[in-house]
Symmetry: C2
Subunit: 350 residues, 2 copies
Amino acid sequence: MLDLPGEILEPLARSPVARDVAHRAGVSTATVSRVLNGSAGVRADKREAVMRAAQDLGFVANGAARALSTRRFMAVGAVVPNIENEAFVRVLSSFQERLRQAGYTLVAANAGYDLEDELREATFLLERGVDGLMLVGDIHHPDLHARIARHGIPMVQTFSLSRERPCVGFDNAASAARAANYLVDLGHRRIGVISGLRKDNDRGGARVTGIAQALAARGLTLAPEHDIEISYGIGGGRDGFRQMLAGGAPPTAIICGTDQIAFGAMIEARARGLDVPGDLSVIGHNDSDFAPFLDPALTTIRIHSAEIGHAAGDHLIARMQGRPVVRLTEIDAELILRASTAPPRKPARD
Amino acid sequence: MLDLPGEILEPLARSPVARDVAHRAGVSTATVSRVLNGSAGVRADKREAVMRAAQDLGFVANGAARALSTRRFMAVGAVVPNIENEAFVRVLSSFQERLRQAGYTLVAANAGYDLEDELREATFLLERGVDGLMLVGDIHHPDLHARIARHGIPMVQTFSLSRERPCVGFDNAASAARAANYLVDLGHRRIGVISGLRKDNDRGGARVTGIAQALAARGLTLAPEHDIEISYGIGGGRDGFRQMLAGGAPPTAIICGTDQIAFGAMIEARARGLDVPGDLSVIGHNDSDFAPFLDPALTTIRIHSAEIGHAAGDHLIARMQGRPVVRLTEIDAELILRASTAPPRKPARD
DNA sequence: GCGGTTTTTGAAAGCGCTTTCAGATAGCCA
DNA sequence: TGGCTATCTGAAAGCGCTTTCAAAAACCGC
């Protein structure tokens, strides 16, 4: 059965509880609790005795009982659109890192870009008793915030900025606009966009808006046939670029919603005999691992995922501990210049 | 404040508890519990009343209290080496899908390829009261299984097969051997391996062993200078292939621990003027999203991650519900042939 | 060695739910 | 309608921990 060194453990019949420890140490459960939670005011000898007894018995406090008693679960929930998406995974990972350090457990759920599903998953987490909640974006089911408020737990939104809610993110419109301006500065006049699904996705929407506005400010327009919305992934990028070519004069540069989409678009461009960046400049989003290794290396907007996760974690921890926080934390996205962008071969003049 | 339609809600002072619902419905908390847990034997009118009262009050049962009472947390833990790794993410995602359907919550933790850390994280989850645990691989800290046993909860290992423990996985040695045999059949004689870190990683180790044995069976050997161990990632693959070239006669084919490594190796090969697959055949592992889109498209060993996750989930759910299960589930990995492998240009004859 | 602190300590009361058990109701048949 | 059984229902006892509160013990200066 069990073979921890030194002592035969109780037959698995019942795992030890605080009372057992108290008994063995010759104190009350109150003292056991005090010792195990590090509160002061326990005489050294008793403290020792409790420690040893707990050790000997292999005592592990029952989390449910503790949670019930303290009314804190020491768990935090996160609902992200796609738990398999690299960008969200990175944020979750760094978010969890912080939580873990503070003794919290992360419980992540998948909303699949659907507000109803997001509400359902968030509700599930609330029922589980999470002490805080992380969401992505600023568009949610109308009931969601009421439900969260009802539980009286703090919430923080990530990835985009919000004027109403606590958030940690960046200005999607501004960073996409920066990419657009960069392309215009290079001499591009016909610029296209391939974004992922924009429904219920403020990030995607804001990016396109930002680009359109940036172009407008320079006297250009985002032609409808150059504004493509497709499903995520490399395949989506290929399809998207194909669609774009189907619509009249081809763009000389495109901005893509993710690096995967950009990769797909580059593949399709090459398949059509177009040179990147000679005939087509390409900009991605997220700075995926593979972005610097593509051929040509991909210019992309780097989202500082780790910082977002850390900041969101710190924010929530602070609020759960009743400390003051700033409502909005902006983590700047950064345009990483690589080889997939260049001036258009012959400056388009339309 | 809150604005659910129809009724003013209690000021957030205290969220409603079962007693409130009981009061409002004119029944006891016992009946409330019975209704909310769907147990039979409650008269229709009372059931209705309880349902409506719960609805009106926005009642959500306190998970901790329920867990304390039922002694089941309805949560399952998973400790994976790297929560950001695509292969593990996919398994976690499908694993969670199943758990979620059965009403369980997944709590995932990161072990970082370190047995001590794995033990620590698993202990943390056990303390939280998970009802089941998923691990990766068959190598663990010597104390880990004793601790799990002490909590009396079921555990399932994934990704590799085990002769001792319940598991869902595939035969890493056999599938890697298949890749090696395929290369030998193509006419390759000098075959190299670039694997990720093998310390505390039975999957990596088994794969290399499988390859070495397959080669041996065909009268070939895996030269030490062609057996490279590097850190994961595209950069690792580049470095690995560079190292391999530094050691004498270059291989005509390599098998890589992940598609990322394979991608890196291909980049390095091209940078050296080697043609893939003309001068070098490359096989990866995992069939990542980008594998079919590389140039040339990558031959790789596809791990059926979704099946592993589902099977692991089903296994654990069954055991938590006291149903019988098979101890070992093998999910075959599959060699996906693409364009990165071909016969060697001039059959090596040494 | 004594009265008056200042620490330590344990008994006991929850936390909010489930579940047992016995009593109350309803249902059924004669 | 009465008696007996089959259903329903509520009171109350936990689940295992934290925390309050008052009592006990230790400490202190004189």
